[in-house]
């Protein structure tokens, strides 16, 4: 009843080509953006902004990047954290070495560095498929982290590759508090998410999906697999790179290459599994879930069981719950949280008269 597109006619090309063709979606997206941009900064306290909302947004962006590669283009990658590292260190070096570098440009340049590296490590995907490729992307993961540690130039000769990010200022406005950093992160994420939403329904996005579903068939109907896969790697790494730069600049402030380890890559992979592969919405849901779950476990398990349990138990319990959740989700809903949302929408369409 409420979610029904009947009666919404598209009378112009513009209306036909909108990112969200259904009015309710448009309203919902705008409402969400307004809520997170105008209401949340007012009601949320510093802890929420700093420890929950900013990481959720950043990981959403990284998950979005991986989702483009794995969910849409079907190339499994286990190296997303490494591309985040390239983005972070790239942006850092542009800020460091070029006087008066605007932050947003540095962000984009960091993303472009990651994209270039991503294309390089994406080259094997032209010949290698499936698990072989997944293992091959591990090469990127280990090599990049090693290179960032071993070549001190990347971290401006600081010890063990730790970098402390510079101050962010755009047009004279300094982003130093959690609120302003949150707003900046939100703005970047919203723009990139809308761009991704737009991209996946363009010819590029449809080519990705064709390659994902069957690459030989896609080739037969005239999609160039090399171009398509490399674009997917580039775009995906760009998103991961920007996410990495934001991770360094707006979330942590101080990062080291070892922080972008395989565990982080897996975390991002879990986000898209739990959120839903091949869904923009799913990246956000998955990121929120994975970031919030440990915080919930940390806060509730000790209070639930009192002093009976030690902290090592809690960390093991976290591992168990984490692993269990992933298996549970794969069994119950292989398409993730986004699929539940989809089902909800279909139900809403008929509600309250399902017959």
């Amino acid at each position: 009843m409420f979610y029904r597109e009947a009666g919404q006619f598209k009378a112009s090309y513009q209306a036909d080509q909108q990112i969200f063709p259904i009015r309710q979606d448009r309203v919902a997206v705008w409402a969400l953006i307004v809520f997170f941009a105008a209401v949340v900064p007012v009601i949320a306290d510093q802890y929420w902004l700093k420890a929950i909302l900013i990481p959720v947004l950043i990981f959403s962006l990284a998950a979005l990047g991986l989702n483009i590669l794995t969910g849409y283009a079907g190339q499994l990658s286990l190296g997303s954290a490494a591309f985040m590292a390239v983005g972070a260190f790239g942006a850092y070096n542009f800020m460091l070495r070029i006087d008066g570098m605007p932050f947003l440009l540095a962000l984009v340049m960091g993303g472009l560095c990651a994209a270039a590296v991503g294309v390089l490590f994406g080259l094997p995907s032209l010949r290698i498929k499936g698990f072989y490729l997944a293992v091959a992307t591990l090469a990127a993961q280990f090599f990049i982290v090693w290179a960032l540690v071993k070549f001190p130039w990347f971290s401006n000769y600081s010890s063990s590759g730790v970098i402390s990010t510079q101050e962010i200022s755009i047009l004279g406005f300094v982003f130093d508090g959690p609120t302003s950093k949150y707003m900046l992160t939100l703005a970047v994420v919203v723009v990139l998410a809308l761009a991704a939403k737009n991209m996946v329904r363009s010819s590029t996005g449809r080519a990705w999906m064709a390659v994902r579903d069957m690459d030989v068939a896609a080739e037969v109907i005239g999609i160039r697999p090399m171009r398509t896969k490399l674009i997917a790697f580039a775009v995906s790494s760009f998103y991961c790179g920007v996410a990495g730069a934001l991770y360094a600049y707006t979330y942590l402030g101080t990062v080291e290459p070892e922080g972008f380890n395989l565990d982080l890559s897996f975390k991002i992979l879990f986000m898209i599994i739990i959120g839903g592969t091949g869904s923009i919405m799913g990246s956000f849901l998955g990121a929120a879930f994975i970031v919030l779950l440990p915080i919930l476990l940390d806060n509730f398990v000790p209070s639930l069981l009192g002093d009976l349990v030690s902290s090592s138990f809690v960390s093991n319990f976290q591992l168990i719950v984490f692993g269990g959740m992933i298996i549970f989700f794969l069994i119950v809903e292989p398409h993730g949280l986004a699929r539940l949302w989809q089902i909800g929408k279909e139900k809403l369409r008929l509600w309250p008269f399902p017959h």
């Binding site: 498929k129 499936g130 072989y132 293992v135 091959a136 591990l138 090599f143 071993k150 992933i326 298996i327």
Partner: protein, 308 residues
Amino acid sequence: MQFFLEVLIGGLLSGVLYALVALGFVLIFKASGVFNFAQGAMVFFAALTFVGFQEVLPGWTGLEEGGSAVFWLAFALALVSMIILGILTEKIVLRPLVNQPHITLFMATIGLSYLIEGIAQGVWGANVRGLDLGIEDVPVEWLMESSNILVSKFDLVAAGIAGVLVASLALLFQYTKIGRALRAVADDHQAALSIGIPLQHIWVIVWGVAGFVALIAGMIWGARNGVQFALTYTALKALPVLILGGFTSVPGAIVGGLIIGASEKLAEVYVGPFVGGGIESWFPYVLALLFLLVRPEGLFGEKHIDRV
């Protein structure tokens, strides 16, 4: 030359250990098409269970601490644990996921590895333990005297155990009824089902055997480096071996392991100093990657044919 030989032999011997872990992957991948990322966690679980039983058994049964009775009892109990783990995995994780795409199963095994790590540490605690197999980690004397090459006795014994294991697995696969069934399942699930091979039983057996291999690998690695969480990273060492040798080939795992082990050590010694060292972490991957560009299915893997 001497030094070169020493490095080469050391690399080959550690390659045998990589091969041992890779073997567990191959067994499961062949029989069920599951790329079992939890193999590393299983190695950790097995070693920890073994050491854990070794610690608690004297208290429970009154057997002499450190005696061979405790050793074999702990070994048997750890083996039983691994088989139970295999059965549970099949029942809880694999059966509900039948007919799902391979990538889903792969991700499920990543979840499984977290689960196993959590359970193992939850039950036995997270502290590092030593494991004594009764083999000394000293250079072999006659080799030392005759040609002045340092080769650890421990490495030799480990390589011997791995060799025996591989040979017996090969015999099992080739000459027994179970082995025939395993090969049939590996070849074609549906065809195997249709001639009456119980797929579920086969999977339990395979996971059990993989658990056994994990136990052996865990004991050898554990005796070398201590039983600790880092054992789970053996899986990461085994992955390049796997893609080099091909996912579906037992000999591939062995040959791949030897190549990776030897080249990794040689590269570390001869190339490492020029780029700052520590290249062991990524060199095997890059080597495997370059190799894949020439042969995308690995050394002994089945050739992939795409049909539309």
